[in-house]
Symmetry: C3
Subunit: 307 residues, 3 copies
């Protein structure tokens, strides 16, 4: 796949070779950051347009751009502080902002709106989350964290736990992991199972997908423990929620059943689904993921501008 | 006129020589941007104080400063996120911010407030719009767009259409265009005509001013078609509004009557007054204007610091 | 005291040697700013997390970082524009942001919250004000202003006027001034006197502390006139407030009784406690303080990164 000059809109646009070349570049970026700042993107300006605030994601993109020697113009809250949203179509906003910046990073609560803006932009647009639909750089940093910790992705067993029906994060992980020879183990409360479409897509790729309800057994099987938030409102009943919330929490006690070499990933912020007593476990990688997010976004920006 | 160390408060402060030297500098800036980033303003800090949000204008100034190697400290929404507005006079705010920054870019909903702050600032202040009064850099980019497309301003016929009574943009264009040998053709709904004072000022400069009501005739006469928004509330009656809104829209059909060499300019955001079917017409320059705005502001900043 | 890699949380953490070395560094920074931008902190990223807006303090820190060649990622209003505050503990926020930035500058309305976040941060954290508790860099710039104007602090008489009971600023000044041989003269309305604990602490350091109620006498005694705001609600009665507000204002008339060599300092914003007719008096140093704030914060950042 080509990176130079391209929009980054969807987890589905990446192929195996693209992912691996990106991870190698991200690894290279770690060395650059250790040495100090790069001037690779000197003279380039990134505009961040957040129609829905997300300090974490915005900071990560901005740090990535700045560490490469680029500059940033930023709107952290387009809805509150911009006439764009009141008077102007997304199409015109895309056209306008792309006259001033060299790349646009956009977040929006409505699925599809980043693609709409991108169609009219004269510069590449990166999707930093559009509602329930896509957040491709989150999936990239998840996979990079796996790749970095194991030195590979092929051959691993990836366990996904949480609200698999609604989790944008885990859907995107599947979309990218399908390019590798991984086994999937799924664990979710009743009614919140992974959709048939995604499971069938994994089957088409001849990948093994297994549902496991016993938490200890589940934890013991996996190399990668991918955890996501569950909103109380999603459960079919209060009783179902309590059953889950009371038992499906990743804590130090449960981690005794996990492999020594396993890793735990989570997009953050977490609420109760991972207990703080796991934080000091060397297998907990959710804070390292934040650091990896900067490296992956640096790699992505570098490839968009330089190939 | 002198630029170095000066406040930029009003369209009226520019003379013919100053405008032309600024446009030449802006033209030079286009080359600098193509080559990458300049370091002309390395070490300089610009503060943006927006008491009224305007992402478009703020982005343009910030991009201009960053592309010259300067740095930016930014408040996109002073009213929401600053105790300045609650506790402090504009005079003190000017004095305070000018101790930290080397230039201040300010927008405020109240006419005259930028001048008030500028009086107490120890560094140059640029007016980025103060209510209904002034927005001098918008007029600068309008004229630069004309100058760039025709290679001159003298000898052109400039058509102004819209709410000529209330349009800050078109008033400022007149204020600057009066230094050149242009003919004015005006087209506005009943009750929204250009004020007598402005027309008389143009007459004093021995410039030809003509009112035309027939839209096709109007469009066919002009080299520059300067369009502005019209707010429904301004019309004398609903009937008058409908008559105008239904007929006075610039669209592809109407553009057939325009000269091949004509250009269409608009400050954006547009609502209905220019149809999207004009966007692909090479004569449509309203998105190019956004790009020109960065070049003009770069030129202005360079001249304020370096002369 | 050590600066490199340390959190800056409290006025109480500075010792005499640390303060003097910092002031010398700040003095050095004045020369660097005159020459243009430094590249001392090239490659370093500062995150500003303001859970309570303060444009003045944020601008000062950001200018300091930028003038040293560093970069800034900024959230001016965490409460409005961040899910951090809704979903996440301060502990997790500290851990997360410290994966992306090299230093964190934080302001928060609740006393103690900056220390809480700092405990979990992997990078140094600077307290930019936590409610009624601490604002150490304000005290640093106050003392630097004294040191710079007199060439010393030992031997001076410092007069404090205002709401001495509640003023965070003046409490922190005492906390730092106690390392020098100064005399204190205190002047406050009834019920708003300096707390016994602070006075006793100064006595333990064998420093002279005197209360004076006559304003002219007070003004005539001091080398440094440290003024703070008084909120009307703090007074024991409306009558007491009027008595104070009517008489305890620093104005040009009163300054006739002050020493020729005296200086007036105030944290700003001021309301009525210093009259604008004092602004042109060369002894008024409250705007110079703003400039000094940038130099002191540059010095602090330099020492945190480089020692």
């Amino acid at each position: 796949m080509k990176f130079k000059g391209e929009n980054i809109l969807s987890a589905g646009q990446f192929d195996r070779a693209g992912l691996i070349s990106l991870f190698k570049e991200a690894s290279n970026m770690e060395k650059i950051v250790k040495k100090g700042q790069s001037d690779i993107l000197k003279g380039k300006v990134m505009a961040t347009l957040f129609f829905e605030p997300s300090t974490r994601t915005r900071f990560s993109f901005e740090t990535a751009m700045l560490r490469l020697g680029g500059r940033v113009i930023s709107n952290a809250d387009m809805v509150q502080t911009s006439s764009f949203t009141k008077l102007e179509t997304l199409e015109d906003t895309g056209k306008v902002v792309s006259q001033m910046a060299d790349v646009i990073v956009m977040r929006h609560p409505v699925a599809g709106s980043v693609s709409t803006l991108a169609k009219f932009s004269d510069v590449p647009v990166i999707n930093a989350g559009d509602g329930s639909a896509e957040h491709p750089t989150q999936a990239l940093l998840d996979l990079y964290t796996i790749w970095k910790n194991f030195g590979r992705i092929d051959g691993l067993t990836v366990g996904m736990i949480g609200d698999l029906k609604n989790s944008r994060v885990q859907h995107s992980q599947c979309e990218m992991l399908k390019h590798f020879k991984v086994k999937f183990v799924l664990c979710s409360p009743k009614g919140l199972e992974m959709s048939k479409e995604i499971v069938e897509e994994l089957h088409r790729k001849k990948l093994d997908v297994q549902a496991v309800n016993d938490l200890k057994k589940f934890v013991g099987m996996v190399d990668v423990l991918s955890v996501s938030r569950i909103q109380k409102e999603r459960f079919v009943s209060e009783r179902e929620y309590k059953k889950f919330a009371g038992t499906f929490v990743i804590n130090a006690q449960l981690m005794k059943f996990a492999k020594k070499s396993a890793i735990v990933i989570h997009p953050l912020p977490r609420v109760d689904e991972i207990s703080v007593d796991v934080d000091d476990d060397p297998r907990a990688k959710y804070f390292e993921q934040v650091k990896n997010g900067v490296f992956v976004r640096m790699a992505l920006l570098k490839k968009i501008f330089k190939g």
